[in-house]
Amino acid sequence: MSNGIDILDTIDGQSSESKFEPKLESRQLWGKIFAAFCIFATSLGLVVLAFLIYRVVSDGSSRLNWDLFNLYPSRRPLESGYKAAILGSVAMLTYVIVLVVPLGVCSAIYLEEYAKKNWLSELIELNIYNLAGIPSIIYGLLGLGLFVRGLYSGRAVLVTGILTITLLILPPVIVISREAIRAVPQSVRQASYGVGATKWQTIRHHVLPSALPGILTAVIISTSRGIGETAPIVVLGAGTVLFDPKASPINFGALFSGRLGDVFTDTLWSNDNFFSVLPYQIYEWVGDPKAEFQTLASAGIVVLLLLVLGMNLVAIFLRNRAK
């Protein structure tokens, strides 16, 4: 085994004189220094994160009250809040989950359970791997060209944001869901086939329930990334909005009063349903020269971090419980 010889060479074969000098003291000192550096490196990120949280909470504390959730953006910082942006983020989160769960899980099931080893499945696999590495801002350009220009003739409405973020987080959802499906023991499938179940019955009643915690983790972690994304939203051309986004897919008032022609007016699909999301509004105010807007940005960051880190903690908890 060639590796064994390499180890001999590197550990005690520097030169023939030093071969019989263990130099234990200096080696152990270096060992301690190295261990300290490793501990320092591991904790550095956490220290930065803790300091960051401390800073935004202390910077934003004067604005951390209900006004933040009740006011719309304005030129006067003290009368501005995140209402439209937070509602936009919540609506986007909901619809992204509705779209990404079936698409992502079905893709994962296909690739793990159905795909034969041929050029088509290899193409899909390679493609998903590469999509996962494409910067989010490129998805913004995709959404701009395809959805904003193509579907809504230049209007950056909520639907375009939802579709863009869905495509953005689809690859990671597929990748992590596949791992969860792969982790289900083969014996479970064999037992199910053994009693005469079909492939789909096996997947539906045995594989999916076992993989569920892993799939949930995938969806939660990926949507939390999606909801914190700013770059694609900026590229779509979202702006500051002074009204709540329309989130209902159907105009129920029109439906129940029988005005069937108006079922889709003033709904999610309307072409005046402009939107903003929390990270985008923060970005707008970070760049503002007025100090009060910076305070407002800090307060917004606290809300965003609570949402995103909270989702991450739920995902970690689920994953640990599944193990």
Partner: protein, 320 residues
């Protein structure tokens, strides 16, 4: 979608239920394939959108100028990126320069720290501690990048400007440093997996020869996991190149050719964000320049991802 072709067989004919089941099974199979195909369509759409606008961009600006700059009327050479100015020039390198400088600073921070974190998680920490620490480290990757950008601008830049004379309000250095922190989990996570895949027997052999823990980690585990580590580093570079909000907020929006990290720079991503935020008319050269820069960025990150995949493929073949 084609209808499933299952010829009825003799033993199936009395089992109507089984035939129904077969049809349903086939329909489900095709429906799942369709879902998986959405991601292929996404790639096609990305390439189509970027390519079509890039082609019309190069109808107005020359590829020669894009890649090599131009010679001005007074005979001097010029390479600058100013599609949104009245005096337009389209030489891509100043934005690439900004991107590479910030990415380089980020990798100088993230590579040693990410590797040390990986060594700690895989070699030093007890399994219980490792199980707790790993998701906590990965939490860093979950922080929205707009938050990192705010942190770089309002915390890191003021600290650095009291230490470094000549530091500008927007600079490559503080953006790069914070981007490095953001990339630590990417490198740490993949490298930890690579190190854990190194067979225990290699470590035991080295301990048997009297090596210290540090020597085992750096002389045995690190080289044995090298291909996985390289893949992690390249993936980290790809993240750094594609990151937008940190640079848009903290590094500025002035693409220039410079090697000074104290300067305001403009990256490819920051340029896209800046121009898209303003209202550029469809069909104008600024609008199309957006997609030309996007295409360049797409090709760079795609290349990095393919290299990373090739390297990690080798690593999987070695130990599994």
């Amino acid at each position: 979608m084609t209808s499933p072709q299952t010829p009825p067989q003799a033993e199936d004919l009395d089992l109507y239920q089984r035939r129904d089941r077969n049809i349903r099974e086939n329909v489900i199979g095709y429906a799942l394939l369709f879902c998986a195909f959405v991601s292929v369509l996404t790639t096609v759409a990305i390439v189509y959108v970027l390519a079509s606008e890039t082609v019309s961009f190069f109808g107005k600006a020359s590829i020669g100028e894009f890649l090599f700059g131009k010679t001005l009327e007074n005979g001097s050479y010029s390479c600058s990126w100013t599609p949104q100015f009245a005096e337009k020039s389209f030489c891509i390198w100043p934005t690439v320069n900004g991107t590479l400088m910030v990415a380089l600073i980020a990798m100088i921070v993230a590579t040693p720290l990410g590797l040390a974190t990986a060594i700690y998680l895989s070699e030093y920490a007890s399994p219980r501690l490792g199980k707790f620490l790993r998701p906590v480290v990965e939490l860093l990757a979950g922080v929205p990048t707009v938050v990192y950008g705010y942190f770089a601008l309002t915390v890191i830049t003021p600290i650095l400007s009291s230490l470094i004379p000549g530091l500008q309000g927007f600079n490559a250095l503080s953006a790069g440093l914070i981007m490095g922190v953001m990339i630590i989990p990417t490198i740490a996570s993949i490298s930890t997996d690579a190190m854990r895949a190194v067979p225990l027997s290699l470590r035991e052999a080295a301990y048997g020869l009297g090596a210290t823990k540090k020597e085992v980690s750096t002389n045995v585990v690190l080289p044995a996991a090298l291909s996985g580590i390289c893949a992690a580093i390249i993936l980290g570079i790809s993240r750094a190149v594609g990151e937008t909000m940190i640079v848009a907020i903290a590094a500025g929006q002035r693409p220039i050719l410079t090697l000074d990290p104290r300067q305001t720079v403009g990256t490819m991503t920051a340029y896209i964000a800046q121009v898209a935020k303003g209202d550029s008319r469809v069909g104008s050269v600024e609008y199309e320049a957006l997609f030309a820069v996007g295409m360049t960025l797409f090709l760079i990150t795609l290349l990095l991802n393919i290299i990373s995949k090739q390297i990690s493929k080798r690593f999987q073949e070695t130990y599994e």
